[in-house]
Each structure stands twice: as C-alpha cells, then as structure tokens.
C-alpha cells in the first residue's frame, strides 16, 4: 500500500512521523483504496462509527447528572429531562440513539450476509464484529436498566435470572450478579459502572475491526477481489467520505424525527413508572432490537435449554464463515442462496414479531417453527448449499460492466466456477 513510503513534506512532520507515524496512518486512511462499486449498504460502517461516538459523548454528558442509586436514579433522570440545560435533548438522543445504533448494525450485518463479506479472508473482521454486537447488546441492556423504571427493573430481573438456569451454581451466580438476593441498588450501581466501561471496549474492538478490514480491503457487491487497484478502486478520501457523509445525513434525518417528534415511540410506557419490586408489569418485553432472541428464549420449553438456544443463536453466527461452504461471496451470483437469505430475513422478522407477543397458542407454535428454521438455515442449509448450488458465472473484474440488474437474465459469460 502507498502509505509505506509516505514521507511528510515538512521537516517537523518528518521528525514527528519518524517517531510516531500518525501522519502515515492518516495518509493511509485517506488513500485507502476502496472498491468503487460499493453501494449505499456499505455506508453503514461509517454511520455506526457515528452512532458509537454519539452514544459515548451523550453518555458521558448524562453521567455528569445521573445518580446510580436506587432511591435517586429515577428522579435524577427526570431532573435531566426537566432542569438540566438541554437535558431532554441529550437524553432523548441517547435513548433513541441505541435504537438507531441497532437499526444500523442489523443493516450492516445483513449486508454482510447478503454479499458474503464474512468469508475468507475476512473471517476475523466478522468475528470481531460479532463480539462487538454481543457487547452492544449487553451495553444496551444495562443502559436500559439505569432509568430504574418498571421495565428497567423487571428486565434486569428476568435477564439476570437466565443465569439461575445454570445447574448447581445458578443461585450463587445470580446473587453474585445482583450483589444481594434480588435486583437492587448494588445491581444498579454495577450495571452503571459496566455500562460506562463497555462502550470503550467496543471502541477498541471497532479499531481492530477496521484494522482487520484494511488488511484484505473491502468486499464489494460483486464479491470478487480487486484486480487492478488503479481501475477498480478509488481513494477513501474524498470519494467514500462524501458518500458516507451523505448517507449519514439522511440517516440523521430519520434519527432527528425520532428524537424530536416521537422520542418515546420505541420505548415502553411502563418505564416511566418508578421501579417497584412488589408489582410486575402485565406484559414484559425487551427493547425491539432484542425481540428475536427473546422469542428464541421463550420458544424452548426447558429453562436451561432456552438459555442455551438463545446464546447458541449468536454463537452460530460466530462460526458462520465455516458453516457457509460456498466459495462465491455475493448472493448476486447465488440464486438459491438469495432465496434462502430472504427467507432468513423474514424468519428473523417473524421471530421479532413473536417476541413482542405473549407466548401462547399459535404464537408459540410460530415462534418454535421460526426458531427451528433459524438454526436449520445456518447448520443445514448453508453447508449443503455450498455443494449443491449452481452459481452464476462471475465477471472478470469489478470494472467490467457489471450487469447487476440483468444478472437474473441470460448469462453468456466467459468465466464460470
């Protein structure tokens, strides 16, 4: 890559760069050759970076006013909403920010699934991404506990009770997590400490995620390697920067709509009732972005197996690069995979839907079928598909007029796999 021989023009710059090559790094980031055929689904990496930084900044600000103590937490949040200058804006940004963050991360993940970005040589990027995703869920869950409303309290109770499913030592684990015999002030305070810590772990992992990305370079919609950098790629700055910025601004417009005009739409009314350990809300649901996992948890009739299934549903994603046996990355050239892909999307949506409904009757049955299909997709369909599927011939290079739209049509191409 070009940055290896980057020499700063000024003498001071050179002196500094020899000692700490920040200028080389910056030059690398600017010149980083990016496939020029990336579509807008690729802008979500930048959007996610913004989301993370936005959450960290607003979070630090909220931490200046929030009190992590059971008797005061609810009131301190309301203090932020009422008295702190622009406190309402900052809190609504942070609260809706988590939803926007997950919206973006789901698009990012499903983009990767569609275009096969997790495949060799990008497995490590994918695994780091999954760790980030897992930490995000933990962070979001603990953040949801902090306002100490009814949903906060009962979500904390239900989720920590998952660990009571562990044989023999389950109770010791939950007591350890709670710092008591139930969710209470000690639990709140430690969740707060970890909620503050985790985003910085995520930030560190994001840096590794990008580092790992910059080794092989970006995947692209066609899913073939860059053949001739001069023809197939553009420098990251300004081409990709401006494109990411444009996408970010459109995303922010949606974000702003939520913050300013529907700030509580994605939340739950019960969380404006202060936590009460004596009364459980009639219908406990997690935030929308955790619903599919919640559905998987509830669809298994056994407590321990339910918990295992829920964690397995994430773990199965971690080993995905080895479950998918196909050499072809992009779904554009995999007609069968494409259909199963959309089935998976539908399946996850159904799981989310069922997660919001009470687990009874037909809903429970649907949730079970959807759970089964989720695992079948990854554990059976993907491995088999790699051997059975008849793929469409790949184009020679990224620059070759690629007929994204006409791929379904007749193919008469030179190269086949």
């Amino acid at each position: 890559m070009s940055d290896h021989n980057y020499v700063p023009s000024s003498k001071l710059g050179k002196w500094f760069n020899d000692r700490l090559p920040l200028l080389s790094l910056s030059a690398h980031l600017r010149e980083y050759p990016t496939p020029k055929n990336l579509n807008y689904w690729w802008t979500f990496g930048g959007i996610l970076t913004f989301c993370l930084l936005g959450q960290i900044i607003t979070g630090i600000v909220l931490a200046m006013h929030y009190v992590a103590q059971a008797d005061l937490a609810f009131e301190s949040v309301e203090h932020i909403m009422r008295d702190v200058n622009y406190g309402w804006l900052i809190r609504y940004f942070h609260a809706n920010g988590s939803s926007m963050f997950f919206l973006a991360v789901y698009i990012h993940i499903f983009r990767s699934l569609y275009y096969g970005s997790y495949k060799s040589p990008r497995e490590v990027i994918w695994i780091i991404g999954m760790i980030i995703y897992f930490l995000m869920m933990m962070t979001a869950f603990m953040g949801y506990v902090l306002p100490w409303g009814q949903m906060s309290f009962w979500a904390a109770t239900v989720i920590t009770n998952l660990f009571s499913a562990v044989p023999l030592i389950g109770e010791s684990i939950t007591n350890w997590l709670w710092g008591g015999f139930a969710v209470d002030s000690p639990t709140l305070t430690r969740f707060y400490a970890l909620h503050y810590l985790f985003p910085f772990l995520i930030l560190g992992l994001v840096i590794l995620h990008i580092w790992a990305l910059h080794v092989p370079g970006n995947n692209n919609p066609v899913g073939i390697e860059v053949k001739k950098p001069s023809k197939d790629t553009v420098p990251f700055h300004p081409y990709i920067v401006i494109k990411d910025l444009f996408a970010l601004l459109v995303f922010l417009t949606l974000f702003a709509f939520f913050v300013f005009y529907a700030p509580n739409l994605l939340g739950h009314a019960d969380n404006y009732i202060e936590a009460n350990p004596l009364v459980t809300p009639t219908h406990i649901v997690p935030e929308w972005y955790l619903l599919p996992f919640y559905a998987i948890l509830r669809s298994i009739p056994d407590k321990l197996l339910g918990v295992i299934a829920m964690f397995a549903s994430i773990f199965v994603l971690v080993i995905l690069p080895w479950l998918d046996t196909s050499k072809i990355r992009s779904a554009l050239f995999r007609p069968l995979y494409r259909q199963f892909y959309w089935l998976l999307v539908l399946d996850v949506l159904v799981l989310g839907y069922m997660g919001a409904l009470p687990p009874e009757g037909i809903y429970l049955l649907i949730a079970r079928v959807a759970t089964a299909y989720y695992f079948i997709h990854f554990l059976v369909i993907l491995p088999v598909l790699g051997f059975k599927e008849k793929t469409i011939p790949l184009p020679l290079s990224i620059s070759e007029p690629v007929l994204n739209e006409s791929i379904d049509g007749a193919q008469n191409n030179k190269m086949s796999t």
Binding site: I57, V61, M64, H65, D83, V84, N85, Y86, G87, I90
Partner: protein, 170 residues
C-alpha cells in the same frame, strides 16, 4: 480539464457545504457545553432568609448561600469606628465602609477569600478582622484586604432587611 469555469462553480458548492455543515456542528455542540452550566433547579435557589435576632454584638454567624459561606457579623462600636477611620489611600482595594455596610451594625459578606477561595478565620490577623490561613491574607473589620496576596475585598452579596430580625440574602 474541460473548461476554466468549472472549478469556480465547484468551489462554491463545496464552500457552501462546508460552511453550512460547520454551522450545524456548532449548533450541535452548544447543548453539550450548556448542559454543564447551572441548571434550572440550581438557579432557582437564589435567596435565603436568615434570622439574626439572636446574634450578640461582636459575634457573627456563618450561613450557606448558593453553596458558599456568608458571614453575618453584628459589629461593636469600636469595630465600626476602626473600619470607618481608615484612610482610603491605605487600602489595596479602596472602598468605604459606609458602602460596604449600609447599616453599620451589620456586615454581610461572602466569606470567601478573593485570592483562591478559602474561608478566612474570624478575629485573626493584623487588622482585627479576618485572616485567611491558606496564603496569609489579612482583612480588616470591614472585610477589606489589607495585607497578603488577595487582590480584592471580600464580596458583599445582594441582601436586604425584610424586617428587624430577618435578612434576605440574594
């Protein structure tokens, strides 16, 4: 390049985008800064009423106002005389005692040293007033700085007598 005019148009578009973007960044940063300013509940705690009927001449009380100590001293005739006899030229921060204590018997001032914010001790120092233990500032019986590193006299807050027994600070 296709023609010479193009760069100009391009510059305008880019400049406009940058400028417009910068305005937005500024507007977005302001709430993050302003949130650290005193909030509405703090600003509302502006005044405190103090009952001073029990203070003997020569004695003082210290009350908390906006998180800072306020000295309320009922001065003796000697102390008043001493404060009023000082020549303005001898003062570091010239100010008449008449202006500092409208009712000469009562001195109400912020008990905060104007050097670096410590609380001075009463009846100490070379001028029978206050002495700041942190860096050795001497104040007289009117709370004016006479010796030491402090640059100004101790501040007089806004206050008024609601009646003979009650002072409202703020």
């Amino acid at each position: 390049m296709s023609d010479q005019k193009k760069p100009k148009r391009r510059d305008f578009l880019y400049t406009a985008s940058y400028a417009f973007g910068a305005v937005g960044v500024g507007a977005a940063i302001w709430p993050l800064i302003d949130q650290m300013n005193p909030d509405a509940s703090v600003k509302a705690l502006a005044s405190t009423e103090v009952d001073v009927s029990l203070i003997e001449p020569g004695k003082s009380i210290t009350v908390l106002w906006r998180g800072k100590p306020v000295f309320i001293k009922r001065r003796t005739q000697e102390e008043i005389a001493e404060a009023r006899s000082v020549e303005l030229d001898d003062l570091i921060d010239p100010e008449k005692d008449e202006d500092r204590a409208k009712n000469p018997e009562w001195l109400v001032m912020l008990g905060v040293c104007t050097h670096l914010g410590c609380v001075p001790l009463e009846d100490k120092g070379d001028y029978n007033g206050w002495f700041c233990p942190c860096h050795g500032s001497h104040y007289d019986t009117s709370g004016r700085i006479r010796k030491g590193p402090a640059p100004q006299n101790m501040q007089i807050p806004k206050y008024e007598f609601v009646n003979n027994n009650t002072i409202k600070i703020g």
